[in-house]
Symmetry: C2
Subunit: 370 residues, 2 copies
């Protein structure tokens, strides 16, 4: 039905474990390392697509769980798919819905076949299986889609092991369920904070030969040391010639530490969520723009930032908007915060190409005050 | 202290009573007829200045009452004035604060000298006089500022007459209080719905030789026929060589009927307020974008509209954003609604220059379904 597409990842440079490359998709090339802003409900909150183009976002994420419930994946398919629906002509990634079912739904019941859950909107009962998750994601039509997985409490060893094996079976079923050839289906490694489980999971997922692989179940409560250890272990096993996606991460420091350990793709709601809570992400740490010290501060949020917000507005004005409960505050902070992470990804890419990643990382992290 | 500026209005074309002209200000020319979007708290709600530039807004309004209370006119003056504070380099108009004191404050006490009122934010007590209103507006630094006036219930004849005479004395005091020569101070005609009072007021305000004149106290509960009669009566008295500003108006129909009767400048919160309540203003009337009939409607809000929203987004997507309570809905509808009024003003200007205003007005109004 749809055109055949071979998903190719060109590894262009390596510096230690850090990688620079390009992943080719039907809606354009994704240069890596890359950060993907999150548009949960088919909108990166408060931003027009023009803002995202000006930020030079190359990849955005949308959530299958939310779009399935509202407006419905069938409606989006009828209107030509997610790109057409939301007016975004560059690559999109959809998650499988698994993570949201486990984090947003009050009650859910997992069985071998799938998960039954209640909608957080109206309490109605729904069911996801690997097959239905793929069918929904095919309706949505993103460039990168994800295998259906279970993200369990990272410290419950016995349950994590069961859930991991189920996730492997679901990965195989997800792959078998795929009918569109123009979407890259990524597998997801699970296994909590347990090295022996992560090793098994990485080997199993690698063996399924997905065009890309993701690490799930991190940044969900474990320590940074545990997260870093799991990333290193898994990336030593995952194939070099496929992109590696660390799901739901994260802070600027997390991006640097992830790239240092061979991660290529990140996504996180952090920049837009912090923006709605009056926080600015800067290369020296977070600023609470509500703070009275900014009331008469004529400087931009960040001295050397070239985002639209910093080029046009002062800290004093942004603080006023926050105090006055004006929507524009969230828009301006979202632009700045997303720029901070996209710009960091671009700087890391350049540093890797210049074989100067360690030096870049050292100076970037030394600048942080928090 | 500030450079001398003679405020000149060039009347370029007339068609019946409808006028096309240019009002010259320190921050640029204002072609008339013009609609000024309202940025109550130094922000046209939900829009960046780039949106406003793309809409080609030539004049925006900010509210003295709100900015005096928060963040404070002294703070704005310290940061270089309103243009610098809000990052807007084109003309700005500030009102006198009078209307908000009478409409927003629960308790206020008018005496000959001024008005004592309580803040709608924290209940603290404040006082405006003609002198303090002008001093605040000089701190804000808009291109057009307004004499301090009282906007009373349009049907209470005895009180309206008293308030009108007080407004005349306040207009003289406002003029005497002005120290900056780079701001055009406009007088305001009052007098409710009573022709004999409006006539007295128009003659008095005209005699004070302001560089521009406004009609206040309309669109506050009177009938359309009453409003139209008052506009005609007042505009027959106000000087031809000064711009005429109808305050707080309005709808597309009001703009057409106002221009037909010689009005040059309009402002209203309607386009942004309707946007926040899910309503789209179109040349055929209002659409409630929440309506289920738009769920799968791939068309833009208006078929022939060239605004950013209509060029990039469908009715179905906008309805989804509203249903999902996403901020972007308000932004996209604000862009479209403001465009509708700015575009109407531009079309009327062209029609007047082509001596085809009546024909334009007839066809424009005939299109409306509400």
């Amino acid at each position: 039905m749809t055109e055949t597409h071979t998903f190719k990842y060109d590894l262009q440079a390596q510096d230690g474990r850090a990688r620079a490359g390009v992943f080719h998709t039907p809606h354009g090339d994704i240069p890596t390392p890359i950060f993907a802003p999150v548009g949960t409900q088919a909108t990166v909150k408060s931003l027009t697509q023009r803002h995202l183009h000006e930020l030079d976002a190359k990849l955005i994420l949308a959530n299958t769980y939310h779009l399935y419930l509202r407006p419905g994946d069938d409606l989006i398919a009828e209107l030509g798919g997610l790109h057409s629906f939301m007016g975004w002509d560059r690559p999109i990634l959809t998650d499988s819905g698994g993570f949201q079912v486990f984090s947003l739904s009050d009650t859910r019941k997992v069985d071998e076949d799938g998960v039954t859950f209640k909608s957080h909107i109206d309490g109605s009962t729904h069911r996801f299986t690997p097959e239905s998750s793929i069918a929904i994601q095919e309706n949505l039509g993103a460039d990168i889609i994800m295998a259906f997985d279970e993200c369990a409490n990272p410290y419950e060893r016995d349950y994590i092991e069961q859930a991991m094996h189920r996730t492997h079976r679901w990965a195989e079923r997800s792959k078998a369920a795929q009918t569109r050839e123009d979407q890259a289906l990524f597998g997801i490694v699970q296994g909590g904070v347990f090295p022996e489980l992560r090793e098994i999971s990485a080997q199993h997922i690698a063996s399924l030969d997905f065009p890309g692989n993701a690490i799930g179940g991190l940044s969900v409560g474990e320590t940074k040391d545990e997260m870093h250890a799991m990333i290193e272990l898994v990336n030593d096993i995952l194939p070099q010639d496929k992109p590696r996606y660390l799901m739901g991460v994260g802070t600027p420091q997390d991006l640097v530490e992830g790239v240092r350990r061979g991660i290529d793709i990140f996504d996180c709601v952090l920049p837009t969520r912090l923006a709605r809570h009056s926080a600015a992400m800067t290369e020296r740490g977070r600023l609470n723009m509500m703070n009275a010290q900014y009331a008469r501060d004529e400087r931009p949020i960040s001295a050397h930032c070239d985002c639209y917000t910093c080029q046009h507005y002062s800290r004093a004005y942004i603080r006023h908007l926050i105090q006055a409960k004006e929507m524009l505050a969230g828009t301006l902070l979202s632009i700045h915060n997303i720029h901070t992470l996209l710009s960091l990804a671009r700087q890391m890419r350049k540093a890797i190409q210049a074989e100067a990643f360690d030096e870049f990382a050292y100076h970037y992290l030394a600048n942080f005050e928090d």
